[in-house]
Amino acid sequence: MKYAVDENGFYGKFGGAYIPEMLYPNVEELRQNYLKIMQEPAFQEELQLLLKDYVGRPTPLYYAKRLSEKHNTNIYLKREDLNHTGAHKINNTVGQVLMAKRLGKHRIIAETGAGQHGVATATVCALMGLECIVYMGEVDIERQAPNVARMKMLGATVVPAISGSRTLKDATNEAIRDWINNPEDTYYIIGSVVGPHPYPDMVTRFQAVISEEMKWQLKEKTGRENPDFVVACVGGGSNAAGAFYHYLDTPEVKLVAVEAAGMGVDSGESAATSVLGKEGIIHGSRTLLMQTEDGQVTEPYSISAGLDYPGVGPLHAHLFDSKRAIFENITDEEALQAVLELTRLEGIIPALESAHALAALDRIGAKPDDVVVVNLSGRGDKDLSTYLDRFQLNG
């Protein structure tokens, strides 16, 4: 595969494992074992059974008729919002918790932005009877309160990250520091396609089930495996990586990655890394990164906690650099309009993150006969208080 990670953990010039020596034994143990473990028949059997009966896969591929009419093309929604816990994140946490068990670890840590990854991690830890600690930015704890409540209900300890902009980046810093301090018994379940190699590749592989299903579902519904477009939002980029994966080497499928523009890319309040970032190192990976001239990481902004991250996974940096994917960005306002549109046309309330992908539908130049798949990565329950507020539906 042209876009697969190479033996040193790089996608083109992006990736690698830029970690302090304290993390080396853990990351190296994972690097040496992850593919072997993932290929074990017993591992696959356990994973597939959980994906089917516990997560609820396959998720439907839904032809959104009224949305299609509105945008004058054929739109299919990949319903990751219908997974147990309400987003694609659990595809990865189910896989990684099984990995942690194979490696003999019994204390699980995770970072979370919107809280979906935190909930998905707390969920599989409850399922497996493992201790779970989730780091979450103080700002995000406030704006995603329902997910904090769910994590607590599931028995996880939620630790606020109080440094920096107190969002996803800072939660990730704290999770990495925890791992440094607990090198023997702890496994770090990273929630996105970020971090040192092998995480970006491993998380991509666990999320690749999304495009694997898309292929046969599309074939059933349209007679062809390949859509004209796959559209997905990108913070770190795990749902996009999963939705793109089986189409990466099929150039006729246009891949659209949608970033959060926040208040606008030129406003100083944005998270559109492909526009504002340049090559650098964040969280152990060489990738595109929003930073100052002096190499200090810039604090990002988006209304969507899940997209509020100053980098992208190294695979996406490579897809951008090689022009394999088209990068769009969507403002807070545009995303909110897309929320309302999908809710009122299709009766589906999307997550703020996923709404960024929906809002890009008019940008991609889809023709009336084209087939467009939008990865509806999560549902909007966690964002209801923001929605009620913004749409003035309170009281």
Binding site: G16, P20, N173
Partner: protein, 258 residues
Amino acid sequence: MDNRIKKLFAQKPQGLLSVYFTAGYPSLEDTVPIILELEKNGVDLIEVGMPFSDPLADGPTIQQSSGIALKNGMTIPKLFEQLQEIRKHTQIPLVLMGYLNPVMQYGVERFCQKAREVGIDGIILPDLPLADYVREYKAIFEQNNLSKIFLITPQTPEQRIREIDSHTNGFVYMVSSASTTGSTNGQAVVNTDYFDRVGKMTLKNPGIIGFGIHNRDTFAQACNHAKGAIIGSAFIKALGQEGTVAENIQNFIQSIRN
């Protein structure tokens, strides 16, 4: 090859005290005064921290000093400007310590050349992996007569310690226990098995113990198992006390050594 770190270990093989501070903290222009004052008080080696917005390997104290230093306006160009004439005033070995990204943006080669020009002896970049260093940067460091110092931990396998030892010169930075900097879990120097295991490996480089060394006791214990020890967070806390920089340094070093 006139490298001050090598000379130091040759002249004074035991009980070395190395002190880390964040450049730009507490005030932007404190860098040179702190270096000179540390030397005056008998410190043997100084690690000048280059602040980074996201210091992954650091605990709260250095996170905070880094944040303040950045707010004060510290940058790599600014630091080199401050150090431009340092060798007119002191010959104490100086090591720059920081994270890879700011150095990458400055340009690794340019950084090494400038470091040599102002008289730096060694560089510590904890998130620059050994393999990448050997592949891309080792020649540049050596051309500029800079020791590239690497960290090892209680979890580092023997084979890797030997590999690190073979690619470096100066000293091996022995992280006392699995932790971020400034950890006060009290285990700092009880890990004698690990220190003695490394000691028996008879590496070509001397070892210095760092992370968690914070007072007279922990310093003395560390010196029993290695050539010396590094104090960072505890010193930064001392710098944040009331009083002048000179007073705080004098009191702190006396509390460690005299």
